[in-house]
Every structure is written in C-alpha cells, then in structure tokens.
Symmetry: C2
Subunit: 215 residues, 2 copies
C-alpha cells in the first residue's frame, strides 16, 4: 500500500508540520460546533474560538483545497469530513497501550477515542500482578507478546504509560516490534531512529510554560 | 507583588511565546543529563536529543543571557538553575485539581511534580460518592469550597480532569475563584477571558497528527 502513496508523501512533506499539527485542533472545534447543531461557521469564528488569526486558518486550509466561499463561510459537516479524510481518521486505528497503572487505566477507560478515529485495542504490562486484570473491557497482557499482537492487530500507534525508568526500554521494544508512532506520557525525551515519530504528553511542560508568565 | 513586575513583563512580552514553550523542554533534557552524572553539554548535543537545530537552541537561550562559552559548551547544573529561575520553578507552586475520576487519580498519584516545581495541593469533585475519598495522601473536597481553598492555598494554577460536559462550567468557576492558568484534559476548547491562559492535553490531537503521515 505504501509504495502507491509516494507522490502524496512528496506533496505532504511540502506542507509545514506545524500546519498539520493545527488541523486536529480545527477538527475538534468543528465537531464541537456540529454537536451544538451548527451548520456553518467562518474563519473569524474559528479564530476567536482558538486564539488563532482568521488569516492563518484560511491559509492553513488552503493547502488542502477550497473549503469555504467568500461571504458564506464553511459548511461544518463537509469540512469535518474533509479534515477527517486528510488526517486519515475516516477509519478507526488500533492503538496499543503499554502500562496498566493508574495512568494506563485512565487512558483505557476514556471513551472519547473511537468517535475521533482511535481504539485502544490491547494493554500490556510487565508486572505479573497486573497481567490478566481487566481494564474496562480489555484484559492486560504480558509485554512478552507485544510484537506478535502488534502484527495481529495491525497496530501502527503505541502509547507509553510506564514509569520514566522503563520508558526507553519499552520504546526500543515497540520500535523493534514495528511501531513507528509513539505517544509518550513518561517525562523523558526518547532516543529513537529518524523514521520514528514520538509525541509527548507531560503536564509539567505546560505548567512551567504558565509559571514563566506568573513571575 | 505584581505591580513591581511591570518592567519585566514588558521585556517578557518581547520574547516569542513559542520560545518560552521550548524552555521547559530544554530544562527536562538538561535534568535528564544531570541525572546521568553529566556536567557539560553543547547546543549540538541538546539539539540531537530534541530534534531541534543547535542554532535554534543557542538563539532561544540568547534571549536570556550568555549561558555557554564557544568551545566549552554549557555547564549543566548552572544552566538548569538559570532555566528554573527564568521559568519561576525555583519554588514549588500549589496546583488545584478538579476531577477525582481515574484521570484525576492518575495525575494526583504521579510523584514527579514536586522536583519540577509543582505540588497537587487539593482535589475537588462534585460527586458526593467521591468527596471524602483519599487520593494518594489527599482527601477529595467538595467543589463548593473551591474559591475559599484557592485563596488559602495561594494557588494560581488549576487542572481540569472532569468529563467534557462539565469542563466549561468548572473553568468558569475556577476563573471566578481567581485562577488564571488552567491545564485542561477535557477534549474541548474553553471560552475564557483574554487574561486567562489555558493549555490543553488531548491525546487524540497527537494521534491525528501522527495518522496524517500514516496515510
């Protein structure tokens, strides 16, 4: 499948990654407006919601086509569908979660993933006390079966929710097992090959950004 | 205290917010190197760790002073201390947490906050079944006492870990109670006054950023 995508990939790489990073935020806001029964919005309204200039929003979207008309704005359901296609979330992706502690439990019990394109399909831990436990509707599996299960589930994305001391080891194992997209909750910067994409969730990074301004 | 800070605030506002957002990431990486017993690093090494150019790192840091010498690099403990001062995390800030569900529990049980400048000082919920429960060492309080407790604790930062339906209401209440810095885990864009800073943690935003490239 990948080889047929080569021309698209080339085009994709020309769009700045920071623009791509804003598309999910636009989609979230459009879904919120849709859930309020709204049919039409404007770059001005979106901009006010998000604290981004309307010109920036129009410019970001213009990379992908013409989604609105001058004076009439954007049709919300249509733009949602287009953004879902662009972001490849017009399907549901299997995500594997490593770490069945309280954070792993919270992530697995969150029921807002599936409507946005993702499903936690398996949970792994190395603690024998946790293996076999149920987290929501999922039974915690031994991390020894990770590689095989990733193939079975055709999973391309993993979440690391283990203590910081274990995070690099788990990342190495995930990458060996064929995962190239990792969301890491441990407060560490992982060493990974250039073809692996890691994103981080670390509340302290946000707190420290805030306290700069709190002086 | 705030009025004496006016000149600093003016200088601060000249430094792009995106630069400020990178400082906590530099600090996290420097602390990691320090924990490995390292004394000296370079913008090249930091850049390789973080996937940021060494020129960008030098430029970012140059907003705040001269921290390294050509050829000898950065003294890690010294640069950590300076970044802690710049980010105002050479003290510990009280943070209030709203939401005592599984996510709130995971956040409250995380023991990596204090060494980085933060302490979850109180947890609030509106569910009578949760009020009075212990989360780690903290007893869950009724949200009715929020305003008073925020003053008592001199808290300036709040975390919202409630379901999406309750998030705007909780944010309004926090803001009325004097909070102007909010970290929101609910998948929503909050409507807040211009003087209130909100940052968001939403794993789906990261997942969708990844799936764009997974096509």
């Amino acid at each position: 499948m990948r080889s047929t995508k080569a021309p698209v990939k080339r085009i994709k790489s020309e769009i700045p990654d920071i623009v791509i990073g804003r598309l999910p935020v636009y989609l979230r806001t459009l879904n919120l407006l849709a859930s309020e029964g709204r049919e039409v919005t404007s770059s001005q309204e979106l901009g006010e919601h998000l604290g981004i200039s309307s010109a920036q929003i129009r410019k970001d979207l213009s990379h992908f086509g013409e989604f609105g008309k001058q004076g009439t704005g954007y049709n919300i359901p249509y733009l949602c569908k287009q953004l879902q296609k662009i972001l490849n979330v017009d399907k549901v992706w299997s995500v594997v979660l490593v770490g069945a502690g309280s954070l792993g439990n919270a992530i697995a019990n969150y029921n807002g993933f599936e409507s946005r394109g993702f499903r936690i399909s398996a949970i792994f831990d190395e603690d024998p006390q946790k293996i076999g436990n149920e987290v929501g509707t999922i039974v915690v599996e031994s991390i020894n079966g990770l590689a095989e299960r990733i193939k079975e589930l055709d999973a391309h994305i993993a979440v690391i929710a283990v203590p910081v001391q274990a995070a690099q080891r788990v990342a190495d194992y995930l990458i060996e097992s064929g995962i190239a997209s990792i969301l890491c909750y441990a407060p560490i910067t992982l060493s990974v090959p250039a073809n692996v994409r890691v994103e981080y969730i670390d509340p302290v990074i946000h707190f420290q950004h805030m306290t700069y301004y709190l002086g």
